[in-house]
Each structure stands twice: as structure tokens, then as C-alpha cells.
Subunit: 373 residues, 2 copies
Amino acid sequence: MKKFGFKLITIDKKCKARVGKVTTPHGTFETPVFMPVGTQGTVKALMPRDLKDAGTEILLSNAYHLYIRPGTEIIRKLKGLHKFMAWDGPILTDSGGYQVFSLSKLRSISEEGVKFNSHFDGREIFLTPEKVIEIQEALGSDIAMIFDECPAATKDKAVIEKAVHITLRWARRAKKHHKLSSQALFGIVQGGTFRDLRRESLERTLEIGFDGYALGGLSVGEPKPEMLSVLDEILPMMPTDRPRYLMGVGTPLDFFEAVERGADMFDCVNPTRYGRNGTAFTSDGLVVVRNGKYQKDAAPIQKDCACYTCRNFSRAYLRHLVNSHEILGAELITLHNVHFFVNLVKNMRAKIRQGRFLQFKKAFFNRFDPETR
Amino acid sequence: MKKFGFKLITIDKKCKARVGKVTTPHGTFETPVFMPVGTQGTVKALMPRDLKDAGTEILLSNAYHLYIRPGTEIIRKLKGLHKFMAWDGPILTDSGGYQVFSLSKLRSISEEGVKFNSHFDGREIFLTPEKVIEIQEALGSDIAMIFDECPAATKDKAVIEKAVHITLRWARRAKKHHKLSSQALFGIVQGGTFRDLRRESLERTLEIGFDGYALGGLSVGEPKPEMLSVLDEILPMMPTDRPRYLMGVGTPLDFFEAVERGADMFDCVNPTRYGRNGTAFTSDGLVVVRNGKYQKDAAPIQKDCACYTCRNFSRAYLRHLVNSHEILGAELITLHNVHFFVNLVKNMRAKIRQGRFLQFKKAFFNRFDPETR
């Protein structure tokens, strides 16, 4: 079985955008890459064959959610997450740090771990950095994430600093506890929008040493220029020979900004969540399919799109499905959105290779309807 | 463009079960056949490619529903129902008689037609036999149904008799108004469980003359033996050179009973409705996927099933999806159910050809869990 590896292939001549290649036990993929989100062991509304068809190369699932339901033991018994959800490509599992802090109101953090009540049935749960590693080893994902404390970005510096320090101590324990040699382990850099804390978090995470490095706690409500300023500061300090994963970000425009600055991996619920709500992403901006102006529109969501939805269905039909509360509407628009996100980031690779990433970005920004940004 | 046609191929040596071949402008199929129901222009939760994959040969849609929403003019403008819903195989459209009487509480029936309020937005609608033909011609379905009055089977004989007579007069008007030569038109035999009314309805519908004949108003609450007794009486009186369509029936066991007596075509919402509710049909009976006993069950819904769902997913995974309210659960179980219904009826053809239909029926009844009948 192939182990995890990353190889830097090229850097755009005119900016920091880079193409890399990631090897995992379940196949290889190039970066920049977008990972559709399959929180509960399913990318909402899509069959694995739809995901393949949309060009998906790696998907993300969530250790916290799967631990709560159906439970790690069941997935272990069913021979791991890949087999369980019938996805034979690479999987990255998020640790659930973010979910513990966003979904659970009552929680108590100690040096040992976090005690909280399940968002699902209220039962008390105690997660430690070691436990979260064990969960991900049982799931058998290709890339595991350390368990981090992820406070709201709006908190005081003292709170963020405390979170950075406990995350570092937990990262050390996670690394020590991690045994599954076929599984990569990524560290997570925290620090909110405080650049000194980000630098400290990165430097000390690098000292521990991981297969890849993620930036957490961004795109959580802070103004966009602050996020970009953190990326400007931190991405150049990250090692060139490891993948750089910007967690939970974001929109097509965000991907351009982050790739330009040297980020490699992305995940976000936007394509699936917007899809279920009847909103499609296109190169021209958002298309609210329910809008009356599409009532008799024979055109597909996006004219030049090669996805199954755009090859077969008109906006008028999709609008009818959404208005009629038909599940198929959610399925078809989600499929288009995932195809759009995956292929937009894939197309960036070709442009980086040609040294034309910045032109591509400029053209995209010019075309994308500013009112739907 | 090929016109509609029906050819009787063979009759089982030991019963009245028969194999036929139907030709339509959108392709041919053999009978007995099961038609998945796509009321609003979508077989709920399934993409057209999933339907093909499940073996679907013809599907049913509903003129009444599509007239209400999105409206006939939109579908005409989008080049007809096949193109609108991206289904290139045969489509039968039900007229909506049953829906007008089951979905709308306030209605007034006159010789001219039915006035009622839309179940969707309450606006007043007036449907006549001619109007319903025009709707179906605009949809461009391969088989259209006449507009019938369809009273509850529990009504007095006088009520049923009146419905039979008005349906006959409407049938004559429908036939006269029907112009689309590429579209077949089927008559509908009513009469509840009154065999004399059924006979009269059939005889006078035959006098008008249609491309096929349907039995309506069965499986609507009457005891099963009464339905079978109507089939025993009426099916042998129906012409051998026209398809016989038993509307809205029913369960796998019903199909065996009806095919044994000489019925050819079926539609029913059971596979899709049960699928969305997390219940699967198998040769062993119903599988309530949510049931705790499937929590760690690595087996597929049905071991020998060739559908996409059974080839890829365990009961444990499907149970997890249903419990987690994931749309994919509805999709995968619906896909299995449609595959099961379509292929069960398809398999009957082979048995009829071998003169072994009754053995096949007996084996199926013996295996099917009586507690889930």
C-alpha cells in the first residue's frame, strides 16, 4: 500500500500559486484541490458515482460526526469508512475540533480534553487528542487531522492565545499517539487574525512535524482583508515540501486569493448547502434557480458546463423541481455545484503551469457578477 | 416516427399470463411491464440515468399535476415532456381523473367537465375531456389516458353507475378530440366492484375503440378478493390484441395475481414512497432499514440483487443514512425498490415464455415474509 507523500511540481512565475502532487493509499491527486464535504459519510444528496462524474478527487468527512453516529465501532466492523460509504478514492477526516466548538453549547475544556454533550442525543462525551486519533485510525481515512481548540475568531487575544497553546500541547500528544503508518497526520495552525500568534503557532507546529499543515479558524466571521492579511503573512512561512490546507474556505473568489498566495487544499459546504437550497454557482455569479425569470429558460445553469445537470436539464426544469420541493432538484443542483468547485480549482493547475494564473484570476473576477459575491 | 402498436407474443400454457410487445415513438418494450411513477415530471429522488440503470422501460407522469405546475405552455415551449425531464424512453401520462377526485375536496361535476380548486394554490380550474387531451398532446407523451370520473370504491352503486356513464360520454368526446397521431389513447373501464357495471363499462368502451384499455378504480380500499374477482370477470373479456393496464396497483403479490389473470401494464407509487420512508422491497419481504437489527449488518438489502445500491452499500450504511435524515438514503433505497419492481415484472416474462409462471408465483409467495404482505 502506497504511503502518503507530497511533491511540489511547479510554482507560477508571477505569483506564489503552486501545483503539487499528493500520493495516498487510495490514489493520487494534484493540488490545488477542492474537497467536497461528506460530513456524515455522504456528500449530501450525491451518490459516489455522481461524485466521480463531477470530477471529485478527494473528499472530506468528519470524525466527530461519525463517532457520534453511527459510531466508530460500526464503521470499523464494516471495514472502514471507504468501504462503508463506497468511496474508493482518498478521504481526509477532519478531527471535529471545529464541530465541538460550534455545535455544542455546554462544554468544559481541560488540559486532558473536552467534555461536552452530543448535539445529537445529549449524552456526555469526553474527547481527548488521543481518542480523536483512535477514531480516525478506525475510520481508516488517508489524511487525519489533529484535535484542536477552535475558538470564535471574535474572541479576545488572551482567549485565542490560550487556544493556540493548548492546541500545540494536544498536537504533540496526537503525533505521539498516532500509529497508523498508512495514514497521514496534519497539524493545524491557529491564532485567529493575530499575526504574532499565527507565527508562533506555525513555528511550534513545525517543530512537532507533520505530513501537512492546515490553517484553521479562518473565514469564521472576520473581515475578508484580515483573512487575506493572515494568508499573506503565514503561507510564505510554511514549508514548500508539505501540502497547505486552508480549512473551511470558502467561495470561488476565496480560492483564487488563497491559491495566489500559495494554498493547496480546500473544503467547504457551500456547493452542497447552496445546492440543496436551489442556488447554483457559475462563472457569471450565483443563479437562484427559483427566480421567476428562469420560468421558460431552456438554457442549462451554465452554457459551457460539462456536468450531467447542464448536459441534460434546463433552468426551467430545475426551477420546476425546486418549486415543487422535489428531491431531484437538490441532487442536480448539488451535482453541478460540486462539479463547478472541483473543476474551477482543477483548471487553476493548468493556468499555474502556464504561468497565467493571475490572468485567469482577473478574467474570473471580471466575469463574476459582483452583486452575487 | 414509429406509431403505437401492440403485438401479443405468447400466452402461458397453464394460465392466462401473457407476453406482449409495445411499440411507441420513443422505443419498444415488452409486457408485463412496471412503470415507475414520475408524477411531477420526476420519479422522486432518481436521475434519469438511475432509472435507466434500474432497468426502467417506460415511466408514468401525470397531466393534471404538470398542468397545475409548471403549466402546459412551459413544457410545450421546452419541446415536450421527454426533453423537459430528459427521459428519452416511452412515457404514459395519466389524465388526472383520479387526482381531481382524490386531491380536491370542493369540486362540481357537470356534463361539460369538472370545476375544482387547485390543490397547489387554490385557484379555480375547469377541466373537460377535450382540455385534458390537449394537455397530453402538448406534453407529447407516448400514451395518453382519457379523463374519467373516478369515485371512491366505497360509494353506492348508483354513484358508481353515474360515474361509469359520464366516463363513457367523456371517453367518446376524448376520442373525437384526439388528433396527435403519434400518441396512443387508452380508454378506462370503471364500475367499482360491481361486475355488471364493469361489464357494461368495458363493452361500451370497446365500442368507442382505443389503442389500449385500462382498469381504473381498483386497489382503492376494497377487499383484495373483490379486486381479484373483478379481474377474473373482466380481463378475459378484454381484447387480446390490445394492452391491458391495471391502474395504480400495487404490491409485488398483486402483480402476480393480475399477470396470472392476463394484465399487462402496472404503475404504483409504492417503490418510490416506501423508498423515501426507508423501507425496501425484497423477495423475502419488506426490509425496514431503520430497524436496529441492521445496525452492524454488512449485507446489502438483498443478496442476489444487481442494483447499484446492493452492489455497493450495506444495510448498516443505509440505516445510518436513514437515521441521519440524509437524502442519499431516500435515493439509494428508492433506486433499489424501482429496480426490484421493474425486474420482478420483467422476470415474469421469461417464466411465461417457459410456461412456468405459476411455479414462479408459488415460489415467490412461499418466500415472501407473510408478516410484511
